[in-house]
Structure formats: C-alpha cells, structure tokens
C-alpha cells in the first residue's frame, strides 16, 4: 500500500535540513533545493533556523508545498498536509478522564491530545520504516 505524503520543496539550508530530517524523508536533493516528504504537520521558527525575520520571510516564500499548505505567522512556519479523513474514537468516562488529565498537563485540548498521541505513534513507525 502506498502512503500518500505531503511534498515540501525548499531551498537548501543546513539548519532547516537537519530540522526537517526529524519529521521528513528526503526524496530529491540537488545543489539548490531539497524535496522532503512527510505525512504529518510540523512547524519551525526563525529562531530554530537562526534567521532574522526578513530572511525567514524570504525563505518561507521560496518553499513550495504539494498535498498540503504552508502557513506563516510572523516568525513561525507551519507545514500542514490536508486533513480530509475523519475517524471517531469511542471512549468510556474513565478513559476520557485519563485523556483529559494528559491534555491538561500538556496544555492541549482533549481532541488535540488524542491526535498528538496517535500521530506520534504513527510517525515513530513511519520514520523507523524509512
């Protein structure tokens, strides 16, 4: 079964590259740009890349995304694949309370906490399989 991925084409940047490799797989590498593939969303900031806001904006403008979208808010860049599938998880009250406790500790909503747990597990298996 082929896994549908989001493709990110970005100008080569050493720090961006080392950051991206924690979440993505490199598909194409040339002298000028690198194409990464990933299945889930991730974000980076100007501080992560050691860039000034103006440099960061220019760098973001040169990034192309296929199968998802890029959202830059100030000095934060988020790359998000389209979420067009919905699954429903049924929980008992005790299970919900445990999830809520985790969500409160992480400062997340219950839905976001559930997504985080699931996606982290998926990413682990995906990156291990690469």
């Amino acid at each position: 079964m082929t896994v549908v991925v989001m493709l990110i084409k970005a100008p080569y940047n050493r720090r961006f590259d080392s950051f991206a490799r924690s979440y993505c797989n490199v598909v194409v590498r040339t002298k000028d740009y690198v194409v990464y593939e990933t299945i889930t969303d991730w974000k980076t900031t100007a501080a992560d890349l050691g860039m000034k806001p103006r440099q960061f904006r220019a760098f973001c403008n040169n990034i192309e995304v296929e199968g998802g979208r890029k959202v830059r808010k100030g000095t934060v860049l988020e790359l998000k694949p389209y979420r067009n599938k919905t699954i429903y998880v049924r929980l008992a009250e005790e299970e919900y309370n445990a999830l809520k406790e985790y969500a409160d500790d992480q400062n997340l909503t219950v839905g976001a906490a559930l997504r985080k747990i699931l996606v982290t597990a998926l990413m682990r298996t995906w990156l291990n399989a690469l």
Binding site: M1, V89, L99, R115, L118, V119
Partner: protein
C-alpha cells in the same frame, strides 16, 4: 465511574477474577463486582468446561456496560458514550490502516491511545511517589 457486574457466587471464579474485578457486595446466590476497564474471561481462567462456561455467560449481568462472547472468551466492557472525532491527513490514515493490519482500525486506535495513557499515568504516579518520599526524607 465503574460499571457493575452481577454473577453467580463461586469461590473458584472469585479467586480467578480477583485481579480484574473488585467485589462490591453479595445478594442471595449472586455476587456484585465493580470494574473500570475491559475484562476478558476465558474457560481456562475459570477452569470450567465449555458448557459450564456458556452457563456462566448466560447468568452474567452487566450494568453500565455490555457482555459478548468473542474469540471463545467472555468480553465485558463499559459503555463508551463519549465520541471524539480525529481529523487525519490521507498519509496518516493510510499509515494507520497499514499499522492496524487485520485488526479493526477503531480497536487499533484505542489500543495505541490507551496503552500510551496507561504508561503516562503510571510514570506520573511513580514520579509523584518519588517526590513524596524524597520530601519525607528531608523532614
């Protein structure tokens, strides 16, 4: 809230299930137990024949939950009334399906989430205990 299970009083059964169920009371020939999670009971656990196992299943009553015979075992589970939607990308969904394999997706998702939460809460509890014992050591 824990759900209640009513079953025929039997010392052997009680001993076999003491790890999974908490006894809540007795009434005549029946005993009441409480549990919070899923419980699986096999004929081997009870040490009974298939026929006796079926009889046991028929007398079993679950309040605030449900019982079913699955894979030759009795599965008792609480009613799951809370439904949470999770939006996934196609890549995430495809990977989820691949990881689940023959298992139904819903069951796989539940097992991933619940085992994570179990580990998380256990570690949190242990950390709290360690902090308490350290604090009491200083006094």
């Amino acid at each position: 809230m824990p759900y209640r299970i009513k079953m025929l009083k039997d010392k052997r059964i009680e001993q076999a299930l003491q790890l999974y169920l908490k006894k809540a009371g007795e009434s005549g020939d029946f005993a009441f137990y409480e549990s919070e999670g899923d419980v699986w009971i096999s004929p081997e656990t009870l040490g009974v024949t298939a026929e006796q196992f079926l009889e046991f299943y028929k007398t079993l009553k679950v309040y605030g939950g449900r019982k079913e015979l699955k894979y030759g075992q009795i599965h008792i589970a609480p009613t799951r009334q809370i439904i949470l939607p999770v939006r996934l990308s196609e890549g995430e969904f495809a990977l989820l399906k691949k990881n689940a394999g023959d298992e139904p997706i819903a069951q796989y998702v539940r097992s991933v989430v619940l085992s994570f939460l179990q580990d998380y809460l256990y570690q949190k509890e242990e950390a709290l205990k360690a902090r308490r014992s350290m604090a009491s050591g200083f006094q």
